[in-house]
Symmetry: C2
Subunit: 115 residues, 2 copies
Amino acid sequence: MEHSSQVLKGVLDMCLLAIIEEEPSYGYEMVDKLQEKGLELVSEGSIYPLLSRLQKKGYIQGYFVESQGGPPRKYYRIEAAGQEQLRRWAREWTRVSAGVEEVLNGGEREQTADA
Amino acid sequence: MEHSSQVLKGVLDMCLLAIIEEEPSYGYEMVDKLQEKGLELVSEGSIYPLLSRLQKKGYIQGYFVESQGGPPRKYYRIEAAGQEQLRRWAREWTRVSAGVEEVLNGGEREQTADA
DNA sequence: CATGATACCTTGCTACGAAAGGTACCCGGT
DNA sequence: ACCGGGTACCTTTCGTAGCAAGGTATCATG
């Protein structure tokens, strides 16, 4: 398995929430959007359980919309609880990713400040 | 479980490698160092299997050092292969974390450029 | 000698995405 | 009328990986 996909764990749900917040979307399309952002490692089957979980927790709400040229799409829109959760997760992500960055830079602070 | 610990998955090994590269260290101390950087979520038992795995792959090398006031410490130093792997993982991390950041910022590019 | 801190390691548990497979709809070609 | 292929959904099986908890050993202290 790709090492990077491991990083996605625990962040995928946050990403889905962020995508839906920007604009309601459906599963098949979200995979595309993630790929556009460089997260090309998400297999399609992975996100459906995630979406169900998010809905069960009241973060998002699904609804079907007919489409021409294919089966109906299940769009999801974000709920108030979802927005709050997204804020929390985003804060957490920022904190953790900053910590990782710090570990990576180690003691070499001199080159971080300025060239 | 904390959501943030999920994020650590797939990044912890990279962090350990980074810590050891900066300066040889032992398990008990690495947990402390991680906590200092804000990654307070790592339980001690988690990192020993990781260290063994890293050694098995030839990324690091362990050696015991006597200590006063406690049992001997198992220090690890980084190997050449480990340094290469660290570079690769770090590049991957940068790419993925940038992607996540982009998803989080969504379409709101205007506030990213400048205040 | 018992307690507690340091320091190592192991064993179940659970969570979560990957991979693969399955269903169904709709269009276009033959 | 039939079949292939793209769209779009969902489910099941599997492996990985950290967490939680527990176990062992060393050394200092009361």
